[in-house]
Symmetry: C2
Subunit: 397 residues, 2 copies
């Protein structure tokens, strides 16, 4: 029985087909490539999967890695009930998939584990990428474990911890006085000059990180006993996680691991950078670049996602929606979640909870809905100074 | 079948017996109390445990919580092979138990999950404790989830992130211009004045956090296929983790889940605060207070652990040892681990790897030994400024 049932890659826009066992980036038409599997030949049963180790590699038949798994124990993160917060938001069936509990503390580890493993077995020795921070932390970590050299450009405004995380692995790291788009241009130029020595590991320019991220979808469905929730709410920057979850749902339907209807997918953005919300509200198929993006939810500051058409397709196809939330709501909800549920989540994760409040208020989410929000990272990666009384030894509290 | 087979508490020093279903702190003789179980009545088989969810609650028969589990999905953290670092250290069978992948990012979550759950079902509504940082992060988080009020005193020099983590839960937090001992005195005075309103949740003054921490021992043995490694290396401050692992090993022997010989247990301290190493080298049964403790491994800065006699007993009984490492070795090994294995571990965890190097050099660890080190927390909780080139958009990398 094959470890992976990967068959080929095809273009998400024009359908062109590519050999999966060669190194590929974008289609000649400029669009991302998606991995396809011979799903008909997958004979494992969900009940067999229950016996496997609690990592995302339990779904290895539908992952692209054929032989060499580079793992730090990633995946099967908790699907945590939020009863107190759910009560306050009017959604008793509120659950949070907590991807803070994963190597490097963010869901980017899923994409990096699968992307680096696949690149390594295809012979890649060095890669370069732009990153808003957490992707760099994850890719440089898995890259180090694989013995690869890595080059990353990151906005100077990225969280301090992401610098430390990347630098300590020995990565070649640059800070840029600009945004992720500026970083991407500089990395692109570097890769072009490298003459093939550097693999382009940019989001959606390499086909396999989405395969790692789709395991969020597999896990949610498995953890609910092989069924879907009513709604899945996702913080959306590049949107690879949301595209991946949608891809996983379709694959599980085809595998017979899941029956419909599909959950309604919700893309959450910040009101300071909401190209997908704008496009969704206009009924458009692609987004327009967002001018002057700005939000505390740094991980979702992507002014024009390369996979915008795939995100929008997933929203339209599942009767989903797109919501923008203000930073002040995000931060207030982050604190509320910690106070009521004990969970210190990242701003991006908090944005999904703020969106649940707004969608419940509007009636789009019903009280009876089972709603899964994605927390994409640990809040503890972003220390903020707090005002705390300072005492001397012997003082009375 | 009872969820928990808890039978009673007894004093670790004088053997006095206490009712486990009442709120207890120390024995009247001043020593910690340990939870005891009716192990003869536990009928679950290790193969049944394999079917359970990947959290520490899979061992519920030998945990003290009878009914109300407060969980955020803690436990069953990866047991990660470190092949490249192991090769460099001359210990090919090197493994790391990675407790960075747990709610609040440190092993303290184990003690807090079990300690808070048990306190809640015994009727505790509010607690107070001193903390070096991570214990506060964990206890205030689980306390918030349980709906409890919490008061914590923390040295001003504790990591910034631990303030943020505790404050965001709504805990009443104080910083103290002193060390953990000073904090303990102030909290003790507050509890005494509270007239029973505040439960004393200080290390080993409450009997149940050790029960949470012992699950590290259960997990290591289960993850190795219900057998012991040759050596377990533990960063030792208060030492509750090491005491807990030793307790777990003895329980598993009695349960028939494990056969001997036991692994040799190693307590690792910093050369800037090494009371256990000093006592071990002198063959003493208790430690002497360490004057002017100082180390980058902040979590193990405990000048005189309350459970010193239990730590030393575990080392002597397993033919173990105690080792002090310099901060410079700790930090160099932290970077080496990230570069070779991709894992960004905390300084306390890095100290265990530095100790492995020194014990291999001395011959105490043999090349053929299977060695498990404990990484007690995520390195990402401690950002350090790194020197990174800053570029302008359009610059050439």
């Amino acid at each position: 029985m094959a470890f992976s049932h990967l068959s080929h890659l095809d273009c998400a826009r024009c359908g062109n087909r590519y050999d999966a066992d060669e190194i590929n980036n974008l289609c000649t038409c400029g669009s991302p490539l998606l991995a396809r599997y011979d799903l008909g030949s997958v004979s494992v049963d969900p009940s067999d999967i229950a016996q496997r180790e609690p990592t995302l590699w339990r779904y290895h038949e539908v992952l692209p890695v054929r032989e060499r798994v580079i793992s730090m124990g990633e995946g099967m993160t908790p699907l945590l009930p939020l009863p107190a917060l759910g009560k306050q938001l009017g959604v008793p069936g509120l659950l949070m998939k907590d991807d803070g509990l994963i190597p490097t503390g963010s869901f980017k580890a899923r994409g990096a584990a699968v992307g680096v493993s696949r690149a390594a077995e295809l012979g890649v020795k060095a890669f370069a990428m732009p990153s808003n921070g957490n992707a760099s932390a994850a890719w440089t970590a898995y890259g180090a474990r694989a013995g690869m050299r890595s080059v990353v450009a990151m906005p100077e405004s990225a969280p301090l911890i992401n610098r430390t995380e990347s630098a300590i692995t020995g990565a070649q790291l640059y800070l840029v006085r600009g945004h992720i788009g500026d970083c991407g241009q500089m990395i692109g130029a570097l890769i072009a000059r490298s003459g093939g020595a550097l693999f382009d590991a940019s989001t959606l320019k390499e086909p396999y990180r989405i395969e790692g991220k789709k395991t969020m979808g597999y896990e949610i469905v498995e953890q609910l006993g092989w069924r879907s929730p009513d709604v899945i709410v996702y913080p959306t920057g590049g949107g690879v996680g949301l595209i991946g979850i949608y891809k996983a749902l379709l694959e599980m339907l085809e595998l017979g691991w899941l029956t419909g209807p599909l959950p309604r997918l919700v893309a959450v953005q910040s009101s300071g950078c909401a190209p997908i919300v704008q496009a969704f509200n206009a009924g458009a198929k692609v987004s327009e670049p967002w001018p002057d993006p700005k939000t505390v939810a740094f991980g979702i500051t992507v002014p024009k996602p390369l996979g915008d058409f795939l995100i929008l397709e997933a929203l339209y196809a599942t009767n989903g929606t797109a919501v923008a939330v203000d930073d002040s709501d995000t931060l207030a909800t982050q604190a509320l979640c910690a106070q009521l549920e004990g969970a210190f989540i990242c701003p991006e994760g908090a944005a999904t909870l703020a969106a649940v409040r707004s969608l419940r208020t509007s009636g789009w989410i019903k009280q009876s809905d089972e709603v899964v929000v994605l927390n994409t990272g640990a809040g503890a990666k972003y220390p903020v100074d707090v005002d705390v009384p300072v005492l001397n030894p012997g003082d009375s509290i």
